[in-house]
Symmetry: C2
Subunit: 488 residues, 2 copies
């Protein structure tokens, strides 16, 4: 390439990873910010990522193999009686398993008041929507922009879902999109339903598969910074204290508020979110593309405020909608739209209808091609022997049932009794050229008839200009007739 | 064509019309046999039909125009106060309109016993099935063969539907299939819903559009001959006398038997049958072919014992089934299957699953092609200007936003803010060749991204070997990577 440079892959990957420029360093108080993640997974240099892009991943794997040959990382060692405790990410185990289980058990003793139940439900909706409309579509995907009150709301109630800070969540989510179905995908669906649901979080990950995505746009937002810095406090207050205090102050149900409005609410939101990583990559249809695992399913959408049209979402990640049809369930989309009507959100992004329909058409084409490949369309003309007319004449004497249609010889002997137009008509055609008779001279045969005919091919007549689709001939005849009509 | 004859079209048409050989002449007693038809419509010579085949119809129309210029047939004259009575086929008017209306009116005075109602329903099923399983699938389409008791049953109860003799009915039905949607189609759906439902029968048809089909196979069946010869008698007995006698003898309801088990039963069967000619050519889907009017609809199937999958039926007329899926309603198919299990029917014909699926695939392809044609797939490469690399370098200075991907220059300036992967990455690529970065070097873009990219085409780089589908490049890269893996 004389005067045109190719994009420098290392440099571009460093942009993609956000390591090209110094990023505002935000230290979270304690372990809070990376709840449910591992620091070891995103602490990686651009250079490493550049060498690791999809095409070059392999080389690195090899080297790593050598390196870890003697000294294996815990995630590469089999589970044994001695090391099982090292395999487990204990912080996450407590957060997404132990506490919820205790919460569930305690419901045997703690009966909530109906008001507590209503409060829990409202907080469930607030915190759930903060994950879908806020963490996911606003921050991770920049699908729209939002004004301060909305960002504060989502940052506050989103923290109450106990899924980590915006910064952490959006970062690993961007990695998920960029490395979907590869070893670098944090919730790699290829590793099974349970791995993508919770397993990835409950076990210690392999630092060889680190990845990093650019999140400079997020660190530029002070709401994101503040939430990350004070995450533990915000989370504890929004997630647990607030429901307990409200229920206690207004109707004296401190414990009920804590358990139902706190622990159990968190449990349900977490499980719903995990479903997007598991269920949405496992059940449903793939109307836009089936090269990767994401799928569309109403059930997933139903438990996740509309995040279940995941096949669409992975193709069009920055579209503020996940569902397009009126009968699909996507309340998050409506909430975003509503906030925009109230002037609280703007720049709602959508992909063009053209691009969306292109995906649908291509995917349907793929399915159709697969169906077509399984059917018998007759021997291709190029694989048939070439006869001249004298040969056809001779062969017709030995072999009863040869008919020429559109320059191709067919053996119709097996079809005599099957012919919907009766045996007599086919018999009159044997040993002859029935092109005109077949294509309208006697009967303008259906598409089906042309298909059946193709399965009976025996040879091509030399210099007949035969085409694969005898139907073309008929179309030509009809066109000629139409033209005549026009002139009349 | 040196030694191969073409099929003689006149001769073949004479075979198709059954006029090549003398046919057994069966005289019906009186007007009986051709109830609901007109003799003038099938009394036609093979020579006439040969001249009239689809492609040549036009010439004849011209001549006829001249001939009828001065002396028009009644069907070609406008309806006036003087001639309206000549337009009407009075026999049919009485049979399918006047009598049923009187029957309906009489229900205000005649209340049937519940037994009479049950009898009417049973006869409705017997006579209706005799039309669908007998007249239609057995005789008109030879979809299977049946032993004497079954043929007698269908001939007897079929006559009781008052739709003419088997001979007449099957003849005009074969003409319908052969000339679907043309002037020769007796119930030509193009002439409107009411015409194809009853209009064709209530008005005097134009003898210019006569047609004839071979029915020698039918006249070879003595049951068909006998039924035609004694049609009036069989019809009167099976259709009206029998129900009246049964209801009268067993529970004293002669009049109820006559009206409900006779007139009204006939009325409902007739209307249901007419629906196949009207409704089945008007409502529903066209999964097999949309070149002609027949359609599949559950409603039509429901009122006609399963004859409503008419799109399938016109493509595969000699298949004993009309519906293929378990959830489609086709009791006639089950009756035929049952009689075959009882040894009363045999040679049940079906089209190959291959041919059926070919039709489905082709029709879906047609729809997909129509969708595809409406979308913007980018300017075709052949319509783009050719640049060499120096030109690209120069143009990049003036016009910000030019990027080469897979040998094609794209203008991405309008997409910067829309890019799901962020502005920074696209900016680093401007003025450069981003083929590798776009195709996996930084991110292996989705199908959707390739579609969006194609809409931004500006020029082709000379000697780059650019292909229309940039996606091919990515597949090549992945394949190369896979190969490497294999070697490793
Ligand atoms: C040799 C291969 C042939 C095949 C595979 C074939 C196939 C078919 C099929 C599938 C139908 C029913 C579907 C439709 O409406 O198209 C049909 C109907 C018919 N065919 Fe053929 N055909 C062949 C040859 C011929 C020839 C040579 C003639 C005439 C000389 C002919 C005359 C007719 C007629 C008149 C019908 C209409 C029957 C009706 O629907 O009542 N066929 N054929
Ligand atoms: C110039 C035309 C480009 C178009 C039309 C385009 C389009 C897209 C689209 C539609 C997506 C989201 C869907 C998907 O997963 O494929 C995407 C994501 C992405 N693109 Fe591009 N892109 C372009 C150029 C680039 C370049 C040159 C780079 C890198 C140098 C790049 C890097 C990325 C990355 C890293 C993502 C992943 C973002 C995420 O899902 O988090 N893109 N692009
Ligand atoms: Fe996903
Ligand atoms: Fe996402
Ligand atoms: Fe029809
Ligand atoms: Fe039919």
């Amino acid at each position: 390439m004389s005067s045109v440079d190719a994009v420098d892959i290392t440099e571009a990957n460093s942009v993609a990873a956000g390591t090209n420029a110094p990023m505002k360093r935000i230290v979270a108080s304690g372990i809070g910010g990376r709840l449910m993640g591992s620091k070891s997974m995103y602490d990686v240099t651009a250079d490493q990522i550049a060498k690791d892009n999809l095409a070059l991943l392999l080389e690195k794997d090899k080297k790593a193999k050598a390196k870890y040959a003697s000294n294996k990382h815990i995630s590469e060692q089999p589970w044994t009686r001695e090391n099982w405790a090292q395999h487990i990410n204990w912080l996450n185990f407590v957060l997404v398993f132990a506490i919820p289980v205790m919460g569930l058990l305690s419901t045997f003793w703690v009966t909530p008041r109906i008001e507590t139940f209503a409060l829990a439900f409202i907080l469930y909706v607030f915190s759930g929507l903060s994950i879908t409309a806020g963490y996911h579509r606003l921050w991770a995907h920049r699908a729209y922009q939002a004004r301060l009150p909305v960002r504060l709301f989502y940052a506050f109630f989103g923290a109450g879902s106990v899924e980590g800070s915006i910064k952490w969540w959006a970062h690993s989510h961007r990695i998920h999109h960029r490395y979907t179905d590869t070893v670098r995908d944090p919730y790699d669906a290829r590793q099974g339903f349970w791995y993508s649901h919770m397993g990835w979080m409950l076990t210690v990950p392999n630092p060889r598969y680190k990845a990093r995505a650019d999140i400079t746009d997020l660190s530029d937002d002070w709401v994101v910074r503040a939430q990350h810095r004070h995450y533990l406090m915000v989370m504890a207050f929004s997630g647990f204290l607030l429901p307990s205090l409200i229920a206690g102050y207004f109707w004296g149900d401190y414990l009920g508020g804590f358990i139902y409005g706190g622990i159990l609410k968190v449990f349900f939101i977490q499980q719903a979110t995990f479903c997007v990583n598991s269920l949405a990559h496992w059940i449903g249809v793939q109307p836009f593309d089936d090269k990767r695992t994401p799928r569309d399913h109403f059930l997933t959408a139903f438990v996740t405020f509309g995040e279940g049209y995941h096949n669409f979402h992975h193709e069009f990640p920055s579209d503020y909608r996940n569902a397009l049809k009126w009968y699909q369930y996507d309340p998050t989309k409506h909430v975003i739209y509503l906030t925009s009507k109230l002037g609280l959100a703007y720049n709602l992004k959508t992909f063009s209808q053209n691009a969306i329909e292109q995906g649908l058409v291509q995917q349907q084409q793929k399915k159709l091609d697969a169906l077509r490949a399984n059917l018998n369309w007759g021997i291709p003309l190029s694989d048939l022997p070439l006869w001249d007319k004298t040969q056809f004449f001779e062969k017709s004497k030995e072999q009863k049932g040869l008919v020429i249609i559109s320059g191709i010889v067919h053996d119709v002997s097996g079809f005599l009794t099957e012919h919907p137009g009766g045996q007599a008509l086919i018999k009159t055609s044997i040993g002859k050229d029935a092109t005109v008779a077949f294509n309208g001279g006697v009967y303008a045969h259906s598409n089906a008839a042309h298909n059946v005919l193709a399965t009976m091919r025996v040879a091509v007549i030399r210099d007949s200009g035969a085409t694969a689709d005898t139907y073309d001939r008929q179309l030509e005849m009809i066109a000629a007739k139409k033209e005549k009509e026009g002139q009349a």
